[in-house]
């Protein structure tokens, strides 16, 4: 069996009295698409924050490709090949959509040049292709602050993809997107991921999306992983149904 791309062991983090992570053990295999589900406050975003260096776990370790990345700064972790998108889109609000994506493209390669424009033909071309893939091409010159929530979400994900990461962590990539478009977006996203062999993890509340796109599902509850396995098994498991999906059904319609 090949070594997992990401391995988390015994992660624990508490904020005051709240145990956001209470002994998280998780292996993520290379090339797989893992969905993380669970009620709000279960610690899903906290896990992503720890894996990307934004938060430091109080105990436990995270290994990426065999290297210990626990407690490293976000910059170092990004350089190693992990990228993320955010629950609340984090865009450079005064700049245009294409500038936002182009900055990430440039960050990946060729950033430190001072007198040639950011949007030179190579960078602009690559950014544009990415925008097209996400259906954002028409909005390329719109200011990030003027977009609707769905477009902001997509730009956020596109920005993360621009880094061509080995592992992509997405925090609710389709929330805020109109239901009719969710599948179209996920189709494109997953196709792009599969084409590059990018490993992906996404936090999701919509069980249909989970069922359709995830290779594996991990269920979070109160800072720990309750269960993990293929979507078919997990979504039928009575414990999961009771603990999580009973609560989930209330959210999925939102």
């Amino acid at each position: 069996m090949t070594a997992p791309l990401l391995r988390a062991r015994g992660l624990a983090l508490a904020f005051g009295g709240v145990r956001a992570a209470d002994g998280v053990d998780l292996d993520i295999a290379e090339g797989e698409i893992l969905a993380i589900i669970g009620p709000n406050g279960a610690g899903k975003t906290t896990f992503i924050n720890m894996a990307t260096g934004y938060l430091r776990p109080q105990s436990g370790r995270i290994l990426f490709g065999g290297d210990d990345i626990t407690g490293l700064a976000p910059r170092a972790i990004v350089r190693r090949g992990i990228a993320r998108s955010f629950q609340i889109p984090q865009l450079f609000s005064e700049q245009t959509v294409i500038e936002n994506v182009a900055l990430k493209v440039a960050a990946r390669r060729g950033f430190w040049r001072a007198f040639t424009p950011l949007l030179d033909s190579a960078t602009a071309g690559e950014a544009m292709r990415l925008l097209e893939r996400f259906g954002l091409a028409a909005l390329a010159t719109a200011r990030a602050s003027e977009l609707n929530e769905g477009a902001r979400k997509l730009t956020d994900v596109a920005m993360a993809m621009a880094l061509e990461p080995k592992l992509l962590l997405m925090d609710e990539p389709t929330s805020g997107v109109a239901s009719a478009e969710k599948f179209a977006i996920m189709d494109t996203l997953v196709a792009a991921l599969r084409a590059r062999g990018t490993t992906a993890v996404f936090v999701e509340h919509d069980m249909e999306v989970v069922e359709r796109y995830a290779d594996r599902v991990a269920v979070w509850s109160q800072g720990r992983i309750l269960a993990s396995g293929p979507p078919g098994d997990i979504l039928a498991d009575p414990a999961v149904l009771r603990e999580v999906i009973g609560v989930e059904r209330a959210h999925a319609g939102a």
């Binding site: 924050n49 934004y54 955010f86 629950q87 609340i88 984090q90």
Partner: protein
């Protein structure tokens, strides 16, 4: 004390008031004027002491609300840069207002100091003012402030808004009123600091600048928003300066900044500060 006022304002309003130094200077000048007026009226010099307190109260009560309502209220939701610039502009205006009202010649009004006499400790002669009154009053004010912040309702409201503004508003606390009160307090503290310092030094245009840079150094060293820490740090820095005066007088002015840089190199958020984590 000035530094504490500054921290108070920043902690609650999140506006670093560059003009704070001006309030200090104005407090100082006002106190001097009052003192001179008392002297000229032939009243007992001992009355000059309470005059100091009155001066600062007046300055605080008048300028505080005025500035807050007219200026600050407009810029709360603007970018940090703009807020900084607005208080900076205010500072420039007040510096000239000082010059207009009190002129450019140095003013020296030390009646309150003289009226208390001197005290000898070892071979060093201090004025009773320096040794007892100033520290005593400062301590009293600070203890009073701490009691106020911890025990009274208004005080607790201020602390609540400092710790978590959004939560406080969600709980129905009238943020506007808290801001007004806090700012006025902060200004009064600065003016009090100025008033208390005025009898010990000659007043010239420019004491405001020195004060704002110095108090900022204190606030930065202590950590933004740390009210008690600011008081402690001010003390530490004051001690540092006294030591420097003893050993290397030319560099006495530089000491606070050296201390600030040294502290920030080791602890970027200040001695007592806590880093503010943004939620993503």
């Amino acid at each position: 004390m000035v530094a504490v006022g500054l921290t108070l304002i920043f902690g609650v309003l999140r506006v670093l008031n560059v003009a704070h130094g001006s309030f200090f200077a104005i407090g100082a000048y006002t106190a001097a004027s009052l003192g001179a007026a008392i002297g000229a009226a032939g009243l007992a010099p001992a009355l000059a002491l309470p005059a100091l307190l009155v001066a600062s109260a007046v300055v605080g009560a008048l300028l505080g609300p005025l500035v807050e309502r007219l200026l600050l209220a407009r810029i709360y939701d603007k970018e940090q840069v703009l807020q900084l610039l607005v208080t900076f502009a205010l500072f420039m205006i007040l510096e000239d207002v000082q010059k207009l009202l009190w002129g450019v010649q140095p003013i020296f009004q030390d009646a309150p100091v003289r009226s208390l006499g001197q005290v000898a400790v070892g071979d060093i002669v201090y004025t009773a003012y320096q040794l007892y009154l100033l520290p005593g009053l400062a301590l009293a004010v600070l203890i009073g402030l701490m009691w106020f912040l911890r025990r009274t309702l208004t005080g607790r409201l201020i602390v609540a808004v400092t710790e978590d503004r959004e939560a406080a508003i969600a709980l129905g606390i009238n943020a506007d009123r808290v801001y007004l009160v806090t700012f006025t307090f902060g200004v009064a503290l600065a003016a009090l600091g100025g008033a208390l310092a005025s009898p010990t030094t000659s007043l010239v245009p420019g004491i405001g600048v020195n004060m704002i840079v110095l108090s900022f150094a204190v606030v930065a060293t202590a950590g933004l928003g740390q009210i008690e820490g600011a008081a402690l740090t001010a003390l530490l820095i004051g001690l540092g300066r006294s030591v420097a005066v003893y050993f290397a007088p030319e560099f006495e002015v530089v000491i606070p900044y050296l201390i600030m840089v040294a502290v920030l190199l080791v602890r970027p958020h200040g001695l007592f500060g806590r880093p503010q984590l943004r939620r993503v």
